[in-house]
């Protein structure tokens, strides 16, 4: 019995360890999301747990200055308008260090949110810890998280669609495709995609 117990302990340790190793590289589809508390442009703190009605969220790492982020702003607003009523509102997070790029400051975020009339929270990840935990590398970088019990689990990671330059030329809307599966209670058929984007401006070590 004791042997069995120590065997299980060893297994558990291995599982925890491997989770830890994966965790440092960011989330993969199926991973549980650690909730966060970040400041919104309205000055209020926002966590995933706040919105009790949410079935999940479309979490987008984006910023003020990246041309690719700007190219996608109206499409991100459209995603919110389409999916918030279905229980999946958008939460936008700016992970860029304002010390590196001054135009990424909180004041500039407020201005950007006002100009673009963001209908969703636009949060500042000042310590960049949330971006690191998610494993975000670029802007825009999108995650769909789905509520399972009291937890949120990653259901989709990646691109918004297949044409950043011209929304009218898009052939595959990756997020919408994934959302169709997710809303039907199924895992996303294509759950992980890649896109070109601006590297996150990390704090200088």
């Amino acid at each position: 019995m004791k042997k069995l117990l120590s065997f299980f302990t060893a297994c558990l340790a291995l599982v925890l360890l491997s989770n830890f190793v994966v965790g440092t590289a960011g989330y993969e589809v199926g991973d549980k999301v650690a909730d966060f508390k970040l400041k919104n442009v309205d000055g209020k703190m926002v966590s995933l747990a706040d919105n009790k009605a949410a079935k999940g969220y479309i979490v987008v790492f984006t910023c003020n200055t990246c041309p690719f982020s700007q190219a996608y702003e109206s499409r991100i607003i459209a995603l919110h308008q389409k999916y918030a009523s279905k229980g999946y509102p958008v939460v936008a997070i700016n992970p860029n260090d304002a010390g590196t790029v001054p135009e990424e400051s909180f004041a500039d975020m407020k201005a950007r949110a006002a100009t673009m009339k963001f209908p969703f929270p636009y949060l500042q990840d000042e310590t960049q810890q949330v971006a690191k935990t998610f494993g975000a590398t670029r802007t825009p970088h999108l995650y769909v998280v789905t509520k399972k019990g009291t937890d949120f689990v990653v259901s989709y990671i990646g691109a918004i669609d297949d044409n950043s330059e011209d929304a009218s030329q898009v052939k595959t809307k990756y997020v919408e495709q994934a959302m169709t599966d997710i809303l039907a209670g199924k895992p996303a058929t294509t759950s992980s995609t890649k896109a070109i984007g601006c590297t996150i401006k990390w704090k200088r070590a």
Partner: protein, 162 residues
């Protein structure tokens, strides 16, 4: 009248001179793959960049400097622009000519990055800048999803030239 004609000829000469300056060819993925898979004992430094990417623009001179520093060694720099093909004449070519880049510059004209990023390198998430250093004959290859300082680039490149 003759004066005007001379002016015209002069203008023509000037135009042809500027046209013979660095040109950017627009390529598709198979052409890029051909270059990435070339079996030769040359060390290639392939940098993915864009005119709109500030950290990319900042490090471009370091890559271009490689041509001069390693002129006597088998090293080749290829700069792959991720700008849209529609921006070739308006932005990319003027940028390349203004900076007088010595490296070969190509523009990868593909829309859906999800369909080709893994074919360039599975370790690349899609963030710019991204750099590959490889020597296919020696079967050495390294990928960097990061911004380089001149010193970092030299250090990494030296590993291929020993």
């Amino acid at each position: 009248m003759t004066r005007l004609r001379i002016l015209g000829v002069l203008a023509g000469v000037l135009l042809s001179v500027s046209a013979s300056a660095q040109q950017v060819s627009v390529i598709k993925l198979p052409e890029l793959q051909k270059r990435l898979n070339r079996q030769s004992d040359t060390t290639y430094v392939v940098n993915f960049w864009a005119t709109w990417c500030a950290p990319c623009v900042k490090e471009l001179p370091y890559f271009d400097q490689v041509n001069t520093t390693y002129a006597k060694q088998k090293v080749k720099v290829l700069l792959v622009s991720m700008d849209y093909a529609s921006q070739l004449e308006k932005k990319v070519t003027p940028f390349v000519q203004k900076r007088n880049l010595k490296s070969e510059v190509v523009l990868l004209n593909e829309t859906d990055p999800n369909s080709w990023i893994d074919k360039v390198d599975p370790k690349w998430s899609g963030a710019l800048p991204f750099t590959l250093i490889f020597n296919n004959k020696q079967q050495k290859r390294a990928a960097f999803e990061q911004e380089f300082t001149q010193r970092e680039l030299t250090t990494q490149l030296q590993k291929f030239l020993q």
